[in-house]
């Protein structure tokens, strides 16, 4: 047993005092049943009335958020697309493809975040507003982590471009500056705006030096005294060597240029160029990567990873991925300064900087309230071939484990179960069995829904489930007195036993009412008739009636006889069949030949001699029935027909 990674959260069940009362529970696929019990508790069990409710505890509550549903649905499409791009792509194009997928996921998170934000603003009561706001911050943290993982694990940016990506990352997530910028520029006299220097500092901290330069020129315009200094600093900003994507210069060239530039900045500071303006001097120190000067701007930096990136920008612009964790750790320590301990988010980011993917996923699983994030991120990283080596000591690999958890959560939801199916499909080891277990538990409220579930099963050759669903529907139809429907379902399930049962119901109804119901179905059985003997008999017997109705007596007669001689007709039905023969025997024409008449007689005597076939009692009743009503009439009719047939056949031969 491994030790726990964190304290398990406590969920209080309303109405149950767990100190005084005993509770019991049962696991479900995505939820748990909890209720009070007095099991095995002798004393004082009957005194205090307990809590009369059974509670359903859901573990993945985010599934039930209306707005997050969009995230689940939209990302489902991306997920399925990702599983399909696969193998044929290699190298560069594959990487580009994976980065695009990652960006798609992020844009879905962002869209969701925006909507959540609007919901928070529009919320009428403060409680739900707070709830939305906390969701926004969770989503924003998810996007932040994902973005960093994208840069480090998927993009795998080398030294140089790595820093550019990190800068973009920080700019994207510390975005208050844009509204501040608009605010300052919109004011009458920007350089006199109270936040002017804050703004310039933030721009420099984020490496947005062009914009910072423009701001400085505004300052230079209004205060001639500092115009010179502003120009010098502006020139330093302009000449700072940066890696541009289209440029072919090597890293060493860049480092060399950067070193020169750095020395120039240093010289200006030593010479006291900016001594008369503390603001400008501070900016210059920042551009020199001076840690003390940077830490003074804690308020503006917001967080340690911003500090890290700014520090790298102005002191180690060509940082290698492998050295990243060293700077990250020291930045975190410096920034927090021993005053506070790192939060879960800090730990996750730190793990990412250490390139410890498993730690990232583990921390996220603990910190986040849903499986969506870890399942999708892990799957994507798995497609980058980063998780091959890792196997769990339970289930299959980590990717599959997380996908299964997520998909089970979807299946627990009233309507998101359809999404879960595709996730199970892409879990090679346990997906199939999980799907089989879950799909049988979908409530089938309408036939339309049942058809959708059936389609899912049929596409995956899950014959056992197909049979069981059809059987459920057939049973339902029987209960609702819809025999035609029931027969259709049992034909679809190829369920011979049930088809026999329904056919018997049809025959019984016929015996009672003297006419068939659901002719549109029985007349059109086609090859499906062969499913069970009883169904064949039903179809053929109905055919006999049709022949008779169409006055095709000869066809009717031979069909009737063959039903008995071939043993398709159940013995209990023979009386009815023989009775049906009566009108044919009484026709003016001779219908049955001598041979056929002999056969009929044998059938009759077989019955009359009462070979007990299906138990003594029923045979007895059958016999009585037969004797009381029809035996004599039938014998007489058969004898007369035999006589007529002999005469007819004899005379035909004679002529």
């Amino acid at each position: 047993m491994e030790e726990l990674d964190g304290e398990p959260t406590v969920t209080l069940i309303p109405g149950v005092n767990s100190k005084k009362k005993q509770m019991c529970f049962d696991w479900g696929p995505g939820e748990m049943l909890v209720c009070e019990t007095t099991f095995n508790k002798k004393e004082n069990s009957e005194t205090v009335p307990g809590c009369p409710f059974i509670y359903i505890i859901r573990k993945d509550i985010d599934v039930y958020s209306q707005i997050l549903r969009k995230l689940f649905n939209e990302s489902h499409g991306i997920f399925v697309g990702l599983q399909r791009i696969e193998e044929e792509l290699t190298g560069k194009s594959r990487k580009a493809q994976l980065v695009r997928v990652s960006k798609n996921y992020r844009s879905v998170i962002r869209a969701c975040m925006e909507e959540m934000h609007q919901a928070a603003v529009a919320a009428k009561d403060p409680a739900s507003g707070r709830q939305f706001s906390s969701q926004v911050s969770i989503l924003s943290a998810m996007e932040l982590i994902w973005n960093l993982c994208e840069i480090l694990f998927i993009e795998v940016a080398p030294a140089g471009p790595l820093l550019l990506h990190l800068l973009d990352w920080v700019r994207l997530h510390v975005c208050e500056v844009d509204s501040l910028l608009a605010d300052v520029l919109g004011s009458e006299n920007p350089s006199k705006h109270e936040s002017f220097w804050n703004l310039v500092t933030i721009l420099v901290l984020q490496g947005r030096l062009d914009e910072a330069r423009q701001m400085l020129s505004k300052e230079a315009d209004v205060s001639p005294s500092s115009a010179g200094m502003c120009r010098v600093l502006g020139d330093l900003m302009r000449t700072m060597p940066v890696l541009s994507p289209g440029n072919t210069q090597t890293l060493t060239e860049l480092e060399l240029k950067w070193q020169h530039w750095h020395e120039e900045c240093e010289r200006h500071l030593q010479d006291g160029t900016f001594a008369s303006s503390p603001h400008l001097e501070c900016l210059c120190k920042i551009m020199l990567g001076d840690e003390a000067a940077l830490l003074e701007q804690k308020e503006l930096l917001n967080n340690w990873y911003h500090f890290l990136v700014t520090r790298l920008l102005y002191s180690h612009p060509t940082v290698k991925p492998i050295d990243l964790h060293f700077y990250a750790q020291s930045s975190l320590d410096l920034f927090l300064g021993g005053e506070s301990s790192p939060e879960p988010l800090d730990n996750i980011l730190m793990a990412a900087f250490e390139f410890d993917i498993h730690q990232v996923i583990k921390e996220c699983s603990i910190a986040l309230s849903n499986w969506w994030f870890v399942a999708h991120l892990t799957d994507l990283l798995d497609h980058c071939k980063l998780l091959q080596s890792h196997n769990l000591y339970f289930g299959s690999n980590m990717r599959e484990f997380l996908l299964l958890e997520y998909a089970s959560g979807l299946f627990a939801h009233h309507s998101l179960w359809q999404l879960g199916v595709d996730y199970f499909d892409y879990c090679p080891e346990l997906g199939r069995v999980s799907l089989e277990l879950h799909i049988e538990r979908i409530p089938l409220s309408t036939e339309q829904k049942a058809l959708k579930v059936l389609r899912i099963c049929e596409q995956r050759q899950m014959t056992e489930q197909v049979r069981s669903i059809c059987k459920i529907l057939a049973m339902k139809a029987v209960r609702n007195n819809r025999l035609g429907s029931a027969l259709s379902w049992s034909i679809r399930a190829k369920d011979a036993a049930f088809a026999t049962l329904v056919s018997d119901r049809f025959l019984r109804d016929y015996c009672e009412r003297g006419c068939f119901s659901d002719l549109d179905l029985i007349d059109n059985l086609g090859p499906a008739m062969m499913l069970s003997d009883r169904l064949t008999f039903l179809g053929k017997y109905r055919e006999f009636h049709r022949f008779y109705g169409e006055k095709r007596f000869f066809d009717a007669a031979s069909l009737l006889l063959s039903l008995m001689t071939s043993q398709i007709a159940p013995r209990c039905f023979w009386v009815t069949l023989l009775t049906d023969a009566l009108p044919l025997l009484e026709q003016k024409q001779v219908i049955f030949t001598t041979e056929q008449t002999y056969e009929l007689m044998r059938c009759l005597e077989d019955l009359a001699s009462g070979r007990p076939v299906q138990g003594e009692a029923s045979a007895q009743r059958l016999q009585e029935d037969l004797e009381n009503t029809k035996l004599e009439i039938l014998r007489l009719a058969l004898a007369r027909n035999l006589a007529r047939a002999i005469i007819k056949e004899g005379s035909l031969e004679g002529s």
């Binding site: 309408t446 609702n480 659901d518």
Partner: protein
């Protein structure tokens, strides 16, 4: 590829319908209704694509549909039709048929009329009734016809409390859809591959005509009638096949066209341009069938999503006797002469496309992936 606008709406959409335009109007459609299914709470919603005057605050680009109003619906919305400009009729999985009224002044929906147990099962030997899902509804002001899993056909009038006419046990299997053929006559499709024509002038519970797919008894899920040639009918089946029928002659389809890979949930002739037909399916695809004969050879240009159809069977021996000019392009059975061009409209295949509707240049469809797709440039 048409310009589709997608919006995720957090509910599985079972039906989408354009609001009919007032007669003689030259506008393009801009309001549609949707119904949801399989949610804990289902809704009937009205959406609009109009220009709202003010610029969208959330940066949503122009032409995205916005929710006008919605109302809770008891049970899954199994079918939904506009009765007139203001009224919407829905069929519920609870067997209830409801008429909703839209109040444009304050943008609300209210229940204006309801037949609560329009469809029901009677258990064996007991008088107790249990609800049966109502699967289809069709309106022709003032009449409303509904069909259900109980095999029952109901004829309602908007101003009558009770059903005007009920045919019990009209079908031994589930009726999946219904449409008007000529005014007193309706057409139903069922789960054993039959197409039945009913005449309300006749008494009794026998259809006036039964047409059926031979052999396999593949369930039929949807039916639509050609808007001008009332004898031409299209149906879609469980195997995704499109069948074209001529109800004047024969008891078998004129042609069977191999189409989708799973259940075809809806088929619609374009109301004003009936050489075009639209289908959607459980396999997540939405297709545009173009049978107009003057189509230039385009298949080389659009490799993706375009393929020519294959005629699996075409019979009707006396077809040749019919005057050539009278034959609809859907009935001609010469595969060499008439190629039907098929275009797949949705960019990526997702979960089932449950419903679609076309009106003028506008198309709307709804999916199980909880998205509504709209385009207003169908033929551009």
């Amino acid at each position: 590829m048409e310009d589709f606008c997608a919006k995720f709406v957090s509910q599985k959409i079972s039906k989408t319908r354009w609001r009919p335009l007032p007669p003689g109007s030259l506008q393009t459609a801009e309001t549609f209704a949707t119904g949801s299914w399989d949610n804990e709470e289902n809704y009937v919603s009205l959406w609009s694509i109009g220009d709202f005057g003010n610029v969208d605050s959330d940066g949503g680009f122009e032409g995205e549909h916005q929710l006008l109003c919605d109302i809770k619906h008891h049970g899954d919305v199994m079918d939904l039709q506009f009765f007139d400009q203001e009224r919407i009729v829905t069929a519920s999985s609870t067997g209830c048929v409801t008429v909703f009224l839209h109040h444009p002044n304050n943008q609300t929906l209210s229940v204006s009329q309801q037949w609560t147990t329009a469809h029901y099962h009677t258990g064996p030997g007991s008088p107790s009734r249990s609800n049966a899902p109502c699967t289809g509804v069709v309106c022709d002001n003032p009449e409303i016809v509904t069909v259900g899993e109980d095999g029952r056909i109901n004829l309602f009038r908007a101003d009558h409390k009770e059903a005007v006419r009920t045919i019990d046990n009209a079908d031994s299997s589930t009726l999946h859809a219904v449409t008007f053929l000529r005014t007193p006559e309706i057409l139903t499709v069922n789960s054993i591959g039959q197409l039945k024509i009913w005449d309300f002038r006749k008494q009794g519970n026998e259809p006036s005509q039964i047409l059926s797919l031979t052999g396999d008894r593949v369930p039929l899920h949807c039916v639509d009638r050609h808007p001008n040639q009332q004898h031409v009918v299209a149906t879609g089946g469980q195997d995704g096949m499109l069948s074209i029928w001529d109800v004047r002659q024969g008891t078998m389809p004129v042609s069977l066209l191999k189409a989708h890979e799973a259940e075809m949930w809806e088929v619609h002739f374009h109301p004003s341009n009936p050489d075009h037909l639209f289908t959607c399916s459980e396999d997540g695809s939405l297709w545009h069938w173009d049978a107009s004969t003057d189509v230039p050879e385009k298949s080389s240009l659009f490799n993706q999503g375009v393929r020519s159809s294959t005629f699996l069977s075409h019979s009707i021996s006396n077809q040749a006797n019919v005057h050539q000019s009278l034959i609809s392009s859907w009935l001609s059975t010469d595969p060499a002469k008439d190629r039907i061009e098929i275009t797949s409209l949705l960019p990526s295949r997702t979960l089932s496309v449950n419903s679609l509707d076309v009106l003028g240049p506008c198309l709307v469809c709804g999916t199980d992936a909880e998205a509504i797709y709209v385009t207003r440039q169908l033929f551009s």
